[in-house]
């Protein structure tokens, strides 16, 4: 045997001492000794009974996390046990992730919630251990092999409370998985834990209400088709007022070449609506043959944060609509988790979408071979291709009033590997782009802190803690380069980053990438532009006025 191999006694000692990831003040404690505490700002309101009934989810009732009795259904232990057993059989990745962690702790300080809160249970290794400890206790073979040092524990009501607290302090962003030497994806453990909790009615209203709405009307906000159209048409009026150009979107038009689907936040939310105006200008600029559906009126899919079956169902509606409208392929707007679902799960869940064609840009002829299976193309790569082929007339100086930085949305960067395209577009539509520090961007990007359905107002303190690492990186470029615009390609980011910036970095506004595209596009027949899509004065217009004077 090698003289460098560790001695038997050393191994035995390490085995008995059970090294803990807890350090400092907590070093002499086990993580499960630390009590769960629900107080204002660290828990989300549970699903309303009517919402649960609408989607046929179990155990609808009125309750709150601060209640002593959570009114769990009879036999809840068996429900969880059977649910876990079923999922272990169904998802081989889950079994792999539960079995293979060696608790090295490489992930520990990579989670934005740990970095922002200092709570040890927010270390991904311990978050996964919350479920793993029950798995080790409940499953005979594992128990037999690992008994004695596995850190197993019995499933109790306290454990359920702990799960509820900490699996909703994970945004499923997967930053931890980038640093895991074994490639464990803690986000998938969180997904399964949330699925198990939903089996006994332990849930989150900010997730389930959009799910129920989407299930009923086709979008998270529960907006009826006529209101959906009305809203987009009001944006058409705004565009006309600002640019003198009348854009003509069509709705539910059969035979259009492309079906355009974007998160409903772009149609109804501020600042998402300005991004929508950017899309409409772009499509008009290139004369795209597209239609918008008022039924598949949501790109987002909160099923991803609920259950696998719900994710599948909500994803399917987009494809059914594409089939009904007989389009060739789907163009998707700026969204984060929509792309995670499409890129990672759609093909095996509802695909392949053989009734559609392999996407080809009608303007440049580029084949999007990466979307051969899903038939769905991300707008950032579509626009990047247009710019690369010189098909857009752009004046980047129209964005000179903005000094930008770019936030890589977790699901787009880590979930589908799109890193260059948005940067290429951004560099083409503005003159001041400044990267945040290297360890906070691209695949190492920090989450906004409110993704995966925890963007609830009652959760604000926790969101500010979780979003702090991202905000701190923005602070760096704000200080160094006087950045005043944070650009994103995710609708949830556009909803969550404005309050985060208002708290941590006042003076930094949040923009969608295509809002800046819309500002920079030089449209044929336009009236001279003096204001951007938010009706803020453009720097070039002010310079022009100064020159005239």
């Amino acid at each position: 045997m090698s003289k460098y191999a560790p001695r038997k006694a050393q191994l035995a000692r390490e085995f008995l001492e059970k090294p803990t990831p807890l350090k400092g003040a907590q070093a002499d404690r086990e993580w499960w000794e630390m009590p769960v505490d629900f107080h204002d700002g660290n828990w989300c309101f549970p699903g309303k009974p009517d919402t649960l009934k609408a989607i046929g989810f179990p155990n609808p009732r009125k309750w709150a996390a601060t209640d002593e009795d959570w009114q769990l259904p009879d036999g809840w232990e068996k429900i969880i046990h059977d649910g876990l057993k079923e999922r272990l059989k169904k998802f081989r990745s889950l079994k792999l992730y539960l079995d293979s962690c060696v608790r090295c702790g490489a992930c520990a300080d990579k989670c934005h919630f740990f970095l922002g809160s200092g709570d040890p249970k927010n270390m991904p290794v311990i978050r996964a251990e919350l479920l793993r400890s029950v798995y080790r206790n409940d499953f005979p073979m594992v128990k037999k092999i690992l008994k004695g040092f596995s850190g197993s524990r019995k499933l109790t009501k306290e454990v359920i409370k702990e799960w509820h607290s900490y699996f909703y302090q994970c945004t499923e962003c997967r930053r931890c998985s980038v640093f895991c030497p074994l490639g464990i994806d803690t986000a998938e453990i969180t997904m399964v834990a949330r699925e198990l909790l939903n089996l006994i009615g332990v849930n989150n209203n900010w997730i389930l209400a959009p799910v129920a709405n989407c299930n009923r009307t086709g979008n998270h906000l529960g907006i009826e088709p006529h209101t959906f159209v009305q809203n987009i048409m009001s944006l058409v009026d705004d565009i006309e007022e600002l640019t003198g150009i009348t854009v003509n979107p069509t709705f539910n038009r059969k035979g259009a070449e492309i079906l355009f689907i974007t998160p409903s936040g772009d149609v109804f939310g501020d600042p998402g609506v300005y991004t929508m105006m950017g899309y409409l200008l772009l499509f008009h600029h290139i004369g795209l043959d597209y239609t918008i559906s008022t039924y598949a009126s949501e790109g987002g899919n909160f099923g991803l944060f609920t259950t696998n079956d719900m994710m599948k169902k909500l994803n399917a509606k987009m494809y059914h609509e594409a089939e009904r409208l007989k389009v060739k392929w789907i163009l998707g707007g700026e969204c984060g988790h929509m792309w995670r679902v499409v890129h990672q799960y759609m093909s095996t869940m509802n695909g392949p979408a053989d009734f559609l064609e392999e996407p080809v840009s009608p303007i440049t002829g580029t084949k999007f071979t990466n979307a051969t299976s899903t038939k769905m193309v991300h707008i950032a790569e579509f626009t990047a291709d247009l710019i690369k082929h010189g098909k857009l007339k752009l004046d980047p100086s129209r964005n000179d009033h903005l000094r930008t930085t770019f936030h890589d949305s977790c699901n787009v960067s880590r979930g589908m590997g799109m890193l260059e395209e948005p940067r290429f577009v951004l560099n083409s539509v503005c003159n001041s782009f400044n990267e945040m520090p290297e360890n906070t961007i691209r695949e190492k990007t920090f989450c906004c802190g409110s993704g995966s359905g925890i963007n609830a107002e009652e959760f604000m303190e926790m969101r500010m803690r979780g979003g702090f690492p991202r905000a701190n990186a923005v602070r760096t470029v704000k200080k160094q380069h006087q950045v005043n615009a944070l650009i994103t390609i995710c609708a949830i980011d556009r909803a969550t980053l404005p309050p985060l910036m208002r708290y941590w970095n006042p003076g930094v506004a949040v923009y969608g990438l295509h809002e800046l595209v819309g500002n920079a596009l030089v449209m044929e027949g336009e009236t001279p532009r003096t204001e951007d899509l938010r009706e803020n004065p453009m720097a070039i217009a002010e310079e022009r006025e100064d020159g005239d004077a």
């Binding site: 003040a25 970095l115 009826e224 109804f268 701190n472």
Partner: protein
């Protein structure tokens, strides 16, 4: 003899800053490392306070604000979070020469602590303001959908 606390600090800044930062990081449930975003931001804020202890009140205030902003979102009582400033007084006294004007230091630390208290509350109010804004915008959405 009147002491110059700014000079006392600048001569011993790195040792004071190190101890002060470690005490701040120890307030978190799990002691935070100094290289983390929280550690970096606290270091910047604390550095600003020390560099402008008796100098530029604006820069000192900015440092105080950035420290208060971090602790205002943590589940800590204000008395615990703001104990950092009286602690600074102790750290300075330990390192000051005998003839240093302790009364002047006490007065300055009190002023800084009061300012930190104001900023802490301002930030707490900001959090509630953000909650109200989000609730309001949800209400606006609901109204819009019922009106059409």
């Amino acid at each position: 003899m009147k002491s110059n606390w700014q000079q006392i600090i600048s001569e011993r800044k790195s040792a004071i800053l190190e101890r002060w930062l470690q005490s701040a990081l120890a307030l978190f449930p799990e002691t935070m490392a100094s290289g983390t975003p929280t550690g970096e931001a606290l270091l910047d804020g604390m550095s600003m306070v020390l560099d402008n202890f008796e100098g530029n009140p604006e820069s000192c205030g900015e440092g105080i604000h950035s420290i208060a902003r971090i602790f205002a979102v943590q589940p800590l009582r204000p008395s615990v979070a703001l104990s950092l400033f009286p602690l600074l007084q102790e750290l300075l006294m330990e390192r000051a020469p005998k003839e240093a004007d302790t009364e002047a230091l006490r007065a300055r630390i009190s002023a800084i602590t009061f300012e930190a208290f104001d900023r802490f509350l301002e930030n707490r109010e900001k959090i509630y303001q953000l909650k109200v804004e989000e609730t309001r915008s949800q209400l606006h959405m609901l109204l819009r959908s019922t009106q059409s």
